[in-house]
Amino acid sequence: GQQVMQIPQYQHVQEGEDFTTYCNSSTTLSNIQWYKQRPGGHPVFLIQLVKSGEVKKQKRLTFQFGEAKKNSSLHITATQTTDVGTYFCAGEVTGGGNKLTFGTGTQLKVEL
């Protein structure tokens, strides 16, 4: 079945450093979504990418969808303590009935 892997699994950074998580799917995706889950919380939708090569920005967050629509990345510039949490990508396959396959997640810790 479809698999979505993320690296790294964990990342510790000092506040102000940059952070990137990478997402790779075993199959071509119709779109990819990113979610953030704070410790003890539930996943919260961040963004959706649909087009090949698409890049979207949300303040310090930059999201990219690969040309082959099988990989994606999330980059955070100048991390803050509020960025702490686990970041999941989630891929949807064309004809998959709106189902999402979640990536393995990257847990980010930010130290002062």
């Binding site: 079945g1 779109n31 979504q33 919380g41 539930h42 939708f45 959706q48 009935g97 709106n98 979640f102």
Partner: protein, 115 residues
């Protein structure tokens, strides 16, 4: 976005018993899903709750173990039957809104511990 509530928020149950989790949305939604998230892990889709018909289960999940109801466009239940400690997990419902595209919004989750 839709406001989603789940009951109970947490429970501790004995082996062999069953627990029904409720998911209520404050607006009509097209799709409702149930996920399981084991401690420190990612989310795994259990099933899609279909309004007025049987749920669509993912590989590894069966109706006898996880019966699901969806009587209308704002409510669904998931039952975890004949529980064992391996069922200890967070159970989350999610929804897609009628005009929300393909994005999903999650409820707060139900933290289940089976002794």
């Amino acid at each position: 976005s839709a406001v989603i509530s789940q009951k109970p928020s947490r429970d501790i149950c004995q082996r062999g018993t069953s627990l029904t989790i409720q998911c209520q949305v404050d607006s009509q939604v097209t799709m409702m899903f149930w996920y399981r998230q084991q401690p420190g892990q990612s989310l795994t889709l259990i099933a899609t709750a279909n309004q007025g018909s049987e749920a669509t289960y993912e590989s590894g999940f069966v109706i006898d173990k996880f019966p699901i109801s969806r009587p209308n466009l704002t409510f669904s239940t998931l039952t975890v039957s004949n529980m064992s400690p391996e069922d200890s997990s967070i159970y989350l419902c999610s929804v897609e809104e009628v005009r929300g595209g393909d994005t999903q919004y999650f409820g707060p989750g139900t933290r289940l511990t089976v002794l």
